[in-house]
Symmetry: C2
Subunit: 263 residues, 2 copies
DNA sequence: AAGTGGTCTAGACCACCCC
DNA sequence: GGGTGGTCTAGACCACTTA
């Protein structure tokens, strides 16, 4: 048995989770705990099939998913390799605030300015596709890195989707994790990103001069039924933060699409 | 035969393209030419397998890919549906400038300020992972929508990867398409997005006041060998443009990842 | 030539939706 | 209960890498 060995032990047949999903978790675990280090080659697919006791098709579905997440890299004729730190820290979507903090070795913290349920205004109701006046949980946080204010984050969640959110302490808790644990499955998100100037409110909260550049990201996250679950507006101090994204085409094969936002 | 019928005629066995990729193209064609309209249900998988003469596994690989591109939406127990215009215009990556123009019904054009080969500076060489002094193609364009200047786009391509780029007319041509046609396969891209102020150069080119907010997107596009092929820096007038992204988790199944940049 | 990933197949069974 | 997608399998053959 090599140290890169991945055994069946992690796979439970009676679980509701699909086998490929369990395989994803098993491999991800091995990468997280360090038994699979960046640059290492995984055992050949046919061996992994045996040790995980799943078919090759199922295994490959799992491995491809991990490519999508930036954990693995396939190399035709050579093998599957664990992605280096560079790529691993660049997920196949927008990097979240806490991920950024981890990557840079800084401590992320939040100051909660508002955490309460209030009636949805016309504007808020439209963004969340609910009726005006519906109870909505409002969360306003100043996000900090090593104590320095970086961004103001205003989030909205319809109360009937996740009751009692106002009892949670979002000084440390992650909103995304809290919603997931409440049984919501966030499957897709549309977002817009623009540059504006700081108004006096945001300038004061971030400790920058008025009219300084602000990076604004607005996001609507939906569940499997395409129901808006979360509306989030983050205003970053322009000279203190940079959004990062990474896009990879898994089974590319000369994709006919225009690409990654490049013409 | 229903109007949604997709026949084998489009699939050529002798082609180098994988069958699933050809199936993707066949379905995409039907959507593009209007024989499959938004909201319509596709024939059942088992029927499509017969008409395309491919196995169900292969067909599903193609359909899943189209979900990734925002063309289709699966519905367990009901069928596959053509995505509405809303979703279709939001690819699973950053929306490109011309896509934005199309969505908004505006005419995209470019003014080429510079199109020549020059030696790479230290900074440029580092970004492209080449030696300083290596010949690099420089392309500087002012991107316009309906004649209004929206952004300044500075792109760099190492000359040895695509010779004679300075002969092309990028007033109309797409750089991405030109590179693809030159045989380069752009498979992944890392990018950063930030907000800054307009310096006098950019302010003049965009016709805005100095120190006004600017949205800057920097991007490094790589080929299959992870070799940087294109470095692109786009500076958008803050009050004239908004970047749009859409992220979907195809086979989600309670993803354990933090999400879409949301905490 | 041997090893390894990439594509493809035919068929089975389960889970969900709707009549 | 019948139709439809979702998961899974065992095995075949091809393409790329390495020696």
């Amino acid at each position: 048995m090599t140290s890169a060995d991945v055994t069946r032990s992690a796979i439970r047949v009676d679980s509701v989770e699909p086998l490929w999903s369990q395989a994803v978790a098993a491999v991800r675990m091995r990468v997280a705990d360090g038994s699979l280090r960046p640059g290492m080659r995984l055992p050949p697919e046919r061996e992994l099939c045996l040790s995980l006791a799943i078919s090759r098709v199922t295994l490959r579905k799992a491995l491809l998913r991990l490519v999508d997440e930036g954990v693995l890299k396939p190399s035709h004729g050579r093998g599957w390799y664990v992605a280096g730190d560079e790529a691993k820290e660049w997920p196949n979507s927008l990097e979240s605030f806490s991920e950024t903090a981890r990557r840079m070795g800084l401590v992320a913290s939040s100051v909660v300015l508002r955490s309460e349920v209030a009636m949805a205004t016309l504007d808020e109701a439209e963004r969340l596709a609910i009726a005006p006046g519906t109870p909505v949980f409002h969360l306003v946080r100043v996000r900090k890195l090593d104590g320095v204010p970086i961004a103001v984050d205003r989030s909205l969640v319809p109360s009937h989707l996740a009751p009692r959110l106002d009892r949670a302490d979002f000084t440390t808790a992650s909103l995304y994790e809290t919603l997931t644990r409440a049984g919501l499955d966030l499957v897709d998100a549309g977002s817009t990103i623009e540059a504006t100037e700081a108004d006096d409110d945001v300038a004061a909260q971030l400790g920058v001069a008025e009219r300084r550049p602000i990076l604004v990201m607005h996001q609507i996250v939906r569940d499997r039924a395409e129901r808006p679950v979360l509306s989030s507006t983050i205003q970053y101090a322009g000279d203190r933060y940079r959004l990062r994204t990474f896009f990879a085409r898994a089974g590319a094969s000369s994709g006919p699409m225009s690409g990654f936002g490049v013409d």
